[in-house]
Symmetry: C2
Subunit: 183 residues, 2 copies
Amino acid sequence: MAHRRSDVLAHAVALLDTHGLSALTMRRLGSELGVQPSAIYHHFASKQELLAAVADEILARGARPRTAVAWPDRLREVCTELRLAMLACTDGADVVATVWAFGLGAAGPVSELEKVLADAGAPADLAAVASRTLLHYVFGHAFEEQTARQAVSLGAVDRPLESLPDFDLGLDLVVDGLRARLA
Amino acid sequence: MAHRRSDVLAHAVALLDTHGLSALTMRRLGSELGVQPSAIYHHFASKQELLAAVADEILARGARPRTAVAWPDRLREVCTELRLAMLACTDGADVVATVWAFGLGAAGPVSELEKVLADAGAPADLAAVASRTLLHYVFGHAFEEQTARQAVSLGAVDRPLESLPDFDLGLDLVVDGLRARLA
């Protein structure tokens, strides 16, 4: 049976969400779709390319309307959307951060942060550093939150979760640093 | 053959550094040491407990003398030590961030950051948020840098690496945010 690329991608996201990143292999994906791995490679030339498409799909599904006007709020909007999109899929933070590190996808948030900062009058080098700093903060926070919640939920570890809701507070700290530079 | 806990731990770190996180299993560790997995479990009750000991060993090996006096420099010293310790071992950032998320180890850096901030006069709630923000930034940056360098070095991906040396610039941005709060 032939599958369209979009069907294979949708199944890959479902497989990731249900069984986690370690289960997301070309072999298993082919087996669940009733095709040879070569049929998967027809659509995605490599595991990295599949992961990149999965990361971009995770971000696309998390897209929310933009309503903020002031640049600090616009930055928060992008960072919050990114965080929630990753948290909405099992191992989403790991996948999106890995694909970003590979340079193969998940590039939307940084582009958008850079644009917000350029609009706010930041020089290009500050906009680049600040966008990457915000991204690294969001990745680091989301990775902890998701790993902790998943492990506790599986009964693998037993840790308190009440420190996790400090995402906005830490984000404000980075934004304050930026405000000092843009003043 | 009986092995001391420290021998098993040293071999686990060597296995991680040589073959990466996916190779670090209780079974493989036992096999390489010529013992049954049960002999490994005698020293480490679970895979999580082993990972926690490995993370703390990675941090211990990266320990450097403290010489800074002013609080921003003291924060930078702790963050830089953490970053370099993780980068010094294959998949070190992944292991340390995961163990921190599990709540099972790698707690030294946050404790030290909190102490530096308390000494600088930060209220406890700000010290807690700021320490976690710095940690998440360091984790996010180190994860990108390590994942990118390892993947490029293996020939798995081909991406430019020149954006990676911006660690200190991003750290300064967070420190500036903190400076604004402490002023």
